[in-house]
Every structure is written in structure tokens, then in C-alpha cells.
């Protein structure tokens, strides 16, 4: 099988992509309205939603960037994994019940819809939609680029194909993604997430065992090698240091409750009570998938330090290099499919909430009503957003994509945690406080990134700008709400907030 490694990997990836197209076609028959397209008719079961929640959270970053960060910085990035037990708990406590109740009461089909119901403010709803759209474009561009790079590396070893142009690779991966998102909307998205989630868990479990045997002495052997080289790398803080690491912990713990592509799924469940079972299932799925992140990163750092493997050209090559040199071809195939799965499961959710912002939330906030034939426009918007993001990914240069990427997790966290996660649980929160929190989030995340790009400015101890933005936006949100007079909330919303 070893001599046919490239073909085995390509077959696994092709089977996975065909499966995505099949799910798209199946979901098309179940998508009859914009409510189905954006909210899956609120008929999702416990397992489907739990897997969709964790697989959307993991994203391609967890399978490529995560091992790369462990390779480069030791234990520092593990705080993004360690935070998930408390992070998902916060998300479910704050939003598991509340969001689902708002969605049913007001028939909301998007997060800004629920924001409109809570604050009764078109401005707050519109600002939420704009923050989502900005974040989506940046994140999606990064995901599309990652998807294309993975496909390129799968195809490059195939005889007769060789290295293909990145544009061609973007076109193929986007076509599959857009096909199932356009035909089946969120239904296709969550059911592909289900397959993607299981592929990720199986891949991660197998890789963990492979990594353990790739280094003499297993994890203890890795630890001893890392300690001998630099004990700080294997200390709890890794090479980044305590303050930088704890800023990540803050951002990824509380910020999880502000990721629209994740929390929107809490609005889609069949029953309010489903949240009770979803919380442990989500944590279990994420933890198993994260084994890949930890094991590959530690194994590759150790192997390079022991001179058993040549130094990597860049840290992000840790996962592909490990799979290429240490994994069985079938396992490598499954993991490459898992890698695409991780990227696509996040990208499809972004496409869906981006389309909702364009055709539903912004028109409703500005004109007071949705578009006529919303389903048609939702499908059209999905194609346009994917094309724009692909254009950004290909032609705007790495710096601009990185800048847009700054609008990702940090912006969502600082804009949406106060407005939604806190505001939906606290009657005194005002629309003005929410607006200021969203604007401060955009301003701080974008401003600091610009400063870092074009000047010598850096935040001390490499504290993450997203953590600062989240802290400031939350402080402003509480401060302004506490100092203002309580605003009138619609009677039905107020009654639901008392439950």
C-alpha cells in the first residue's frame, strides 16, 4: 500500500467530497423555505447538533495551526484546548436555553434577529450583522485558502497531475463547498458537520496512538527530550509565558460564547431540554479531536530536536509532515479527509450566517422587512460571499487576509459576548451599551492589528489584542448599562428572560 500512498490519500479525500455533494442533494429536498435554509426548521437532534457545535468550533486551525503552534511554542497553545471544558459550559449555561427560547418565541432565523427581539433596536441588530459579516469574510478567506492548500498538497504527488495552480485548487474546493451550501443550506451544513465530526474524531484517535509510538518512550520520552532542550517549552506556559497564555485562555474561554457560527446552532434544536445532553457530548467530541493537535505537535518538536526528522520549513507543516512520514497511508488518507472536513465544517457555517446577514438581517434592520423570495436570494448571496472571500484569499495578499482574519474570533468575542451572552441574561442591559461594545470591539481589534502591522507597537507580554478588546467591551457594556436607566423590554421577551 505504501507505493500507492498518493492514490490512497486522494481516494479518501474524493470519497469524502462526493459524500458532501450527496448530502447537499439530499438536504435540497428538505429545504423549502428560508427558515429551513437558515434554521433547519428547528428540527435538529441532540447528536447532530452536538457534533455540529464542536466541529464548527475546531475548524482547520485545530488540525493544521494547532499542531504547528505546539511544534513552535510548546505547551502555550494547549490553553486553547484546556479552556474548552469551562468555555462550552459558559456557552451552554448562558445561551443553551435562552437562545432557543428567543428563537421559538419570535421565530428568529438568525442571531441579529434574536438581538432585535431582545433590544428592540434596529441599530443594535444591524451592527451585530455588520460585525458578523466582516468577521465572516475574513475568516472565510482564510478557510478557503487553507482548503485549497490541502487539496494542492494531496494532488501534488499524483503522477500526471503534479503541482496545480492555487486558483484551480480554490475553484475545486469552493465548488464542492458552495454546492452543498447552496442546495441544502444549514441542513446540508449540519449533516456534513456530523460526518466531518466523526471523521475528525476517528482521525484524531488514530493519530494519537501513532504519535505515541513514533517517539521512543512515548509521551514521557517526548517530555524528557523537551525538558533537556528547554524546560519552559514543556512547562504549563510554553514559550509564550504566563501572561500571554492566560490572555489566550480568557479569549478562548469566554469568547466561545460569542462565535456566531457556533451559537446559532443552539437555536436549531428540537427541544429546549436537549441542551442538557448536548453539553457533555460537545465537550467529549472536541476533546477527542484535540488529541491530534496535542500529539502531532509534541511528537514533531521532539523528533526534530532529536534530529530524527529534518527541521520543518514552517511550523504549519507539522501535521502534513507527520502524516507523510509516520502514518499508514490509509490513516493519512482519513486524516487528510478529516483536515478538509475540519475546514469545511467551519466554512459552511460562515457561509450560512453571512448569507443571513446580507439577505435577512441588514435589509430588516434598514427597511423594516425582509426581501421577497428570501430563499432564492439566500442561495444567491451564498455564491457571492464565497466568490468574494475566494477573491480576497487569492488576490488581496497575505497581509490583508491576516488583517481580515483579525476580525475573526477576537471581534466576534468582543462584539457578541456582551450583546448576546450577557445581554440575553440581564434585563438591565441597554441597546446603547450593546452598540458601544460592538463598536469598541471593531475599533480595538482592527486598530491594534493595524498598529502592529505598520508600526513597532506590540502589547506587553504578547497579550492577545482580542483578549484586551473583550475585556474593554465587557467593561463598557456593564458600566454603561449600570449607569443608564433600564429600558423597556417587550413583555413576552421579559417574561422569557425570567424563566
Amino acid at each position: 500500500m505504501e507505493e500507492n500512498r498518493p492514490i490512497v490519500i486522494l481516494t479518501c479525500v474524493a470519497v469524502y467530497l462526493v459524500m458532501c455533494i450527496g448530502i447537499g442533494l439530499w438536504a435540497m429536498r428538505r429545504t423549502k423555505s428560508s427558515r429551513d435554509f437558515f434554521m433547519a426548521g428547528r428540527h435538529l437532534g441532540i447528536v447532530v447538533t452536538s457534533v455540529a457545535v464542536f466541529s464548527s468550533t475546531m475548524s482547520g486551525f485545530g488540525f493544521v495551526g494547532g499542531p504547528g503552534l505546539v511544534y513552535r511554542m510548546g505547551m502555550s497553545s494547549l490553553w486553547m484546548v484546556v479552556c474548552t471544558t469551562i468555555g462550552f459550559s459558559l456557552t451552554f449555561f448562558l445561551l443553551g436555553k435562552r437562545l432557543r427560547l428567543f428563537a421559538e418565541l419570535r421565530d428568529s432565523i438568525s442571531l441579529p434577529d434574536a438581538v432585535m427581539a431582545r433590544y428592540n433596536s434596529a441599530t443594535t441588530s444591524c451592527l451585530t450583522a455588520v460585525a458578523i459579516l466582516l468577521g465572516v469574510t475574513g475568516y472565510l478567506a482564510g478557510q478557503i485558502l487553507a482548503m485549497a492548500t490541502v487539496l494542492q498538497s494531496v494532488l501534488k504527488d499524483i503522477e500526471g497531475i503534479g503541482v496545480i495552480r492555487i486558483e484551480f485548487s480554490v475553484a475545486i474546493s469552493c465548488l464542492v463547498l458552495v454546492f452543498y451550501c447552496v442546495t441544502g443550506g444549514i441542513i446540508a451544513s449540519v449533516y456534513t458537520d456530523l460526518i466531518q465530526g466523526f471523521v475528525m474524531m476517528i482521525a484524531a484517535g488514530l493519530v494519537f496512538v501513532t504519535a505515541m509510538y513514533a517517539v521512543d518512550g512515548g509521551f514521557e520520552g517526548m517530555s524528557r527530550t523537551l525538558v533537556a532542550d528547554d524546560s519552559e517549552a514543556i512547562s504549563p506556559w510554553g514559550t509564550l509565558g504566563i501572561l500571554g497564555v492566560l490572555s489566550w485562555y480568557f479569549l478562548f474561554t469566554l469568547g466561545g460564547a460569542g462565535q456566531p457560527h457556533v451559537i446559532t446552532k443552539l437555536m436549531m434544536t428540537r427541544e429546549v431540554g436537549d441542551a442538557r445532553h448536548m453539553l457533555p457530548l460537545t465537550i467529549l467530541g472536541y476533546t477527542v479531536s484535540a488529541l491530534l493537535w496535542i500529539s502531532i505537535g509534541l511528537a514533531m518538536r521532539t523528533l526534530v530536536l532529536q534530529c530524527a526528522h529534518p527541521e520543518l520549513a514552517k511550523a504549519d507543516n507539522a501535521a502534513p509532515a507527520f502524516l507523510q512520514d509516520y502514518a499508514h497511508p490509509l490513516l493519512a488518507g482519513i486524516v487528510f479527509a478529516g483536515l478538509l472536513a475540519a475546514i469545511m465544517s467551519t466554512a459552511d457555517s460562515f457561509l450560512n450566517i453571512g448569507a443571513a446577514a446580507v439577505v435577512h438581517d441588514i435589509p430588516r434592520a434598514m427597511r423594516g422587512r425582509s426581501l421577497v423570495n428570501e430563499l432564492f436570494w439566500a442561495r444567491t448571496a451564498t455564491v457571492i460571499i464565497a466568490a468574494v472571500a475566494a477573491g480576497f484569499a487569492l488576490y488581496s495578499g497575505e497581509r490583508f487576509v491576516a488583517l481580515l482574519g483579525a476580525f475573526g474570533w477576537g471581534t466576534f468575542a468582543a462584539a457578541i459576548v456582551p450583546t448576546v451572552a450577557i445581554g440575553f441574561n440581564w434585563k438591565r442591559a441597554t441597546p446603547m451599551a450593546a452598540n458601544v461594545a460592538i463598536l469598541s470591539s471593531l475599533f480595538i481589534n482592527f486598530g491594534v492589528k493595524l498598529l502592529e502591522m505598520f508600526t513597532d507597537f506590540t502589547i506587553p507580554f504578547k497579550i492577545h489584542e482580542g483578549a484586551l478588546a473583550l475585556m474593554v467591551s465587557l467593561t463598557l457594556f456593564f458600566g454603561i448599562s449600570l449607569m443608564s436607566r433600564q429600558q423597556k423590554i417587550a413583555d413576552d421577551i421579559e417574561a422569557v428572560m425570567e424563566l
Binding site: Y71, L105, D230, P236, G241, N425, T475, F478, L499
Partner: protein, 177 residues
């Protein structure tokens, strides 16, 4: 009213810790430096970069974070008489969380300046605390959520009340149509 005020105070204190970071002198390796032999890797360098002041700031930042998380959980369940038992459980879990975090920082602080960290299992002791105790300790909150869900989070009377609210809303909409 009390919980949001406490959360606001915790956030102000966190901003204070951040401000202190801006006026604290950084060691040259405080955020890691390029590895001496492999340019794609970083090294932390001597652990003395974590001076007493930096460790105290880190510990304070972590403690405030945990208090904020527990406060947010309490905000979510509502701090009225009906949920007092649940809130007490969350606070107790919060103490366990704070204790584990403090233990991890203490174990690490004890190794600063020593030649080689002591191992506990397959990893240095402080790392073992992080991976095998700090990571799972918030599962206590998950247990509280699962066990207390029907009694405190979504009770049969909540369900009944929600159905009434839904029905009232439908009637209101029919009238306005």
C-alpha cells in the same frame, strides 16, 4: 443587580492587572525567543523570566478570570431564592477551580530556578496539574448542569409558563394581523 455589579468590579480589576502589565519590565525572553538551533521553533529561555511580580500578575489574572466565569454562570441561572441551591453548588465548584489553579501556579513557582523540574507521571509536575487536573476540573460545572437541569435550569413549570407566553404571543399576533 448584585451579580452584574460584582462582574463589573471583576472586569475593572482585570483591566487594572492589564494596566500593571504595561508598566512591568519585561525580561528579554518573556514572550519566547527564536530557538538557537532551529529557526522555526521558539524557546522560553531561563525560567527566571517569570519573576515574582510576573507570576503574581499571572496568578491574579487567572483568579479574576475564574471568578468572572463563575459569576457569569450565576448570572445565567439567576440569583433568586428558587435557584439558591444551584448557585451554592456553582460557588463550591468555583472554589475547587480556584484551588487547582493556585496549586498549579505554586507547583510551577517552586521549580523556578531549579536545574530540572520534578516529574509527576509523564510530564513535569506543573504540566501534569494543568493537563490532568485543571483541564477536567470545570467538568464539575457540567455535572451540575446535567444533574440540576430539570430542577433548576428548565423545570416543568418553566415549560408550562413558556407555553402560556407562546400562546399569548400568538393571540396578540392574530389580533394585530
Amino acid at each position: 443587580m448584585r451579580t452584574p455589579l460584582v462582574l463589573f468590579c471583576l472586569l475593572v480589576a482585570m483591566c487594572g492587572v492589564m494596566a500593571a502589565c504595561f508598566v512591568t519590565e519585561e525580561a528579554p525572553t518573556s514572550r519566547g525567543v527564536e530557538h538557537s538551533d532551529f529557526e522555526t521553533m521558539h524557546q522560553g529561555g531561563p525560567d527566571a523570566r517569570h519573576s515574582r511580580r510576573v507570576l503574581m500578575l499571572g496568578w491574579g489574572f487567572g483568579m479574576l478570570q475564574i471568578a468572572l466565569y463563575v459569576g457569569c454562570l450565576i448570572l445565567a441561572v439567576g440569583g433568586d431564592a428558587k435557584t439558591r441551591g444551584f448557585v451554592t453548588m456553582l460557588i463550591l465548584c468555583g472554589f475547587a477551580y480556584v484551588g487547582v489553579f493556585t496549586a498549579m501556579v505554586t507547583v510551577y513557582a517552586q521549580t523556578v530556578g531549579t536545574a530540572e523540574p520534578k516529574f509527576l507521571g509523564s510530564f513535569p509536575a506543573a504540566t501534569t496539574w494543568m493537563l490532568f487536573v485543571l483541564w477536567p476540573v470545570p467538568l464539575l460545572f457540567v455535572v451540575c448542569y446535567v444533574v440540576g437541569f430539570k430542577r433548576w435550569v428548565w423545570t416543568p413549570s418553566d415549560r408550562e409558563r413558556f407555553e402560556q407566553i407562546l400562546a399569548a404571543r400568538e393571540i396578540e399576533q392574530e389580533v394585530s394581523d
